[in-house]
């Protein structure tokens, strides 16, 4: 365990501007079919349109609590999910809508969850921060910063325990790296060779706090903390879904073949506030900074330009896909709107497996204590 074996493939912290043409030629990407390449575009734009639509629904006052939008980071969820096999799992933070769509959850069940409807993926019980669908290897959706990282290590532990050749991709933010639970998870993963891939979606800020104000770290960036655990690490350019696929693909290989963990830092950006309630979204960063990302680093635009230049799509076809995504999002919002709220009795359902399966209950006595 104790010898450093860190591969330093991508060590430039802010990777230089993506060159999709070049990266499309990387081993893992060059054999992608036209359908797959178009599919990534569709998946990314579906996330963006879903989020934009959700924002409007929130502004209409139909969503309570927080709404953490994923706009600007779509390439990460789509790129990672595109690599998931039967035994590969995914767990993330409260900023979970993109990942949920990427693993194949439907806009309807997510939109309904946002409005707290019975047709939501969590029956309206979890809300925006707490989407789940284990049947799609998606383990949430977690509200406590860093709290999901031991769970991610645990899913990897479970895979290893059951001799399944898989891995768990565990996402967290740049601000989350300073939670104790993450540190403990890194040590456990490296010490026990757990097939977990910790993926820092570094969008530069934790709420209004820039990376520099929240984390002490070496020149080599946040991912370099992996060195302290002799764990593999890399920096990845979030602008390029191809770059993401290559780096994550390598980490998956390491996990599948050697059951070794990795820590990846994917550089990205969020255009919206931390959550929609974040009134200060524009105070802790300049308008220029935001515009620069939108104009020059947007993963969706860059990818669209690329596949258009490759003539994989015509402008027309691209518009069609966009239009379809918008319609799907509109219909989902409508579906949510028209769905019923859960019945009041549902409040005490899903608390215990045993009370949900009364015929199989083995314990006795009172479970709930009102009155």
């Amino acid at each position: 365990m104790s010898t450093a074996n860190a591969s330093k493939r991508h060590t430039d912290i802010k990777p230089k501007k993506a060159d999709l043409a070049k990266e499309n030629k990387l081993a893992i990407n060059k054999s992608l079919s036209k359908d797959e390449l178009i599919g990534y575009y569709r998946d990314m734009i579906r996330i963006r349109r879903f989020e934009e639509r959700s924002l409007r629904v929130y502004q209409q006052g139909k969503i309570a609590g927080f709404l953490h939008l994923y706009i600007g980071q779509e390439s990460i969820a789509v790129g990672c999910a595109s690599l998931m096999g039967e035994h590969d799992h995914l767990i993330t933070t409260y900023r979970c809508h993109g990942h949920a769509l990427a693993v194949g959850m439907t806009m309807n069940e997510l939109a309904a969850e946002l409005q707290g409807k019975a047709t939501g993926c969590s029956k309206g019980k979890g809300g925006s921060m707490h989407f789940f669908d284990p049947s799609k290897n998606f383990w949430g959706g977690h509200g406590i910063v860093g709290g999901q990282t031991p769970l991610g290590a645990g899913i990897a532990y479970g895979l290893k325990y059951k001799d399944l050749k898989g891995c768990c991709m565990c996402f967290l933010g740049d601000g989350a790296i300073n939670q104790g639970a993450f540190h403990e998870s890194l040590n456990l993963a490296a010490l026990w060779d757990l097939p977990v891939i910790f993926i820092i979606e570094n969008n530069g800020y934790s709420m209004g706090t820039s990376q520099e104000r929240s984390s002490a770290h070496p020149k080599e960036g946040l991912a370099a903390r992996a060195e302290g655990y002799a764990m593999n690490w890399a920096h990845v350019n979030g602008e390029s879904i191809f770059d993401i696929r290559e780096a994550v693909g390598d980490a998956i290989k390491l996990a599948h073949e050697e059951s070794k963990p990795s820590l990846l830092e994917i550089h990205t950006y969020r255009y919206q506030g931390h959550s929609v309630a974040d009134a200060n979204a524009k105070k802790y960063r300049t308008k220029e900074e935001i515009d620069d990302y939108r104009k020059n680093h947007d993963p969706l635009n860059l990818y669209k330009e690329y596949i258009l230049s490759k003539k994989l799509l015509t402008e027309e076809e691209a518009k069609e896909i966009d239009k379809a995504a918008k319609e799907e999002a509109d219909n989902a919002a409508k579906f949510a709107e028209e769905s019923p709220y859960p019945p009041v009795e549902d409040i005490t359902a899903d608390v215990y497996w045993e009370t949900d399966n009364p015929d199989q209950r083995t314990s006795e006595g009172r479970m709930f204590f009102n009155d």
Partner: protein, 324 residues
């Protein structure tokens, strides 16, 4: 008297105490440059600068433990938890270090720390963000805990908490932050451990704290107007220390008690008050002490159901009618 919000009242308390004592420092996530996730510290960074108003990384165990250590040297840290729910990642620092170093050192150490933030449901933030652990804290000797329900109380209790030489944990509410209330311009401090009879009454005593006080007062109003029932509402304000006398006196007068709280029922604050009442006013009770707590499940997201899960005036009214 001018009306100001609960939020403003807290801010005024901070400003007065920051000016009074240079050892007072406010530390927490987004409290400084961002002006506070809930704007409770808005403007303070500009007024007092980076030494007195400090933005912390997302490391509650680290910075709260740090505050406990600094308190030993005479710093008086006022720590913000963005939500009280996040105290669980700092639990050991709060329940062991803050609560026991004085005891384990035979009284050689003082820990004048305040840990504060919102602890409430009702805003659709779900199970992970809606914990209200005042009962856990009150269970722990060495700690004090207060749950102000009004702007007036929030200011007076916060000032007392900051001046207190023991660890005081203050639980606020993201809903109450916006509530307005009359607050005098001249300085005042409300001693911890003093309950407040928010409404005089003779038919039944409601004991509550925090948001439940507001719901209880609303219920009391309706009971009087629609049912000619006159309930007394005792706001505990402080859970530990506890004003046992005021509660017992009230029950001895009304002979009936209903305990209302947002916490889950099992071993909630109401259970302790119920024990105390039946123990100290047994012969005065015409009926069992009753309770209303949150419906016993994790906080549900679905807004209309969450509204049902938490104690509301209509439920309180119904319960009181059953009891009389």
């Amino acid at each position: 008297m001018p009306k100001i919000t609960y939020r403003q009242a807290l801010k005024d308390a901070f400003i007065e105490e920051l000016n009074r004592d240079e050892n007072v420092v406010i530390i927490g996530e987004e409290v400084a440059q961002y002006n506070g996730a809930y704007k409770v510290t808005e403007g303070l960074y500009e007024m007092f600068g980076p030494k007195r108003i400090v933005d912390a990384p997302i490391s509650e165990a680290g910075f709260i433990g740090m505050g406990v250590g600094a308190a030993g040297l005479g710093v008086r840290p006022v720590m913000e938890l963005m939500f009280w729910s996040f105290s669980y990642v700092a639990w050991d620092q709060m329940m062991n270090n803050a609560a026991t170093v004085r005891y384990m050192s035979g009284g050689l150490i003082e820990v004048p720390i305040v840990i504060r933030g919102p602890a409430n449901g009702g805003t659709g933030v779900g199970a992970t963000h809606s914990h209200t652990p005042e009962n856990f804290i009150a269970n722990t000797p060495g700690l004090k805990v207060v749950c102000p329900a009004t702007a007036y109380d929030a200011k007076g209790l916060m000032k007392a908490a900051i001046r207190d030489n023991d660890p005081v944990y203050v639980m606020e509410s993201t809903i109450l932050y916006g509530y307005e209330d009359e607050v005098p311009e001249e300085e005042y401090v409300i001693p911890l451990g003093k309950a407040d009879v928010k409404r005089q009454g003779s038919d039944l005593t409601i004991v509550a704290h925090g948001m439940s006080v507001i719901q209880s007062l609303e219920a009391a109003k309706e009971l009087e107007e629609k049912h000619d029932i006159d309930v007394e509402v005792v706001d505990l304000r402080s859970i530990r220390p506890l004003d046992e006398e005021t509660v017992i006196e009230s029950v001895k007068k009304t002979n009936r008690a209903l305990l209302v709280e947002e916490n889950k029922p099992f071993c909630g604050v109401g259970s302790q008050i119920a024990y105390m009442i039946q123990r100290k006013a047994f012969d005065y009770l015409d009926a069992p002490v009753e309770r209303i707590s949150a419906i016993d499940a994790p906080a549900i997201y679905s807004p209309p159901l969450e509204a049902v899960q938490l104690p509301k005036a209509d439920v309180i009214v119904k319960k009181v009618l059953e009891m009389l």
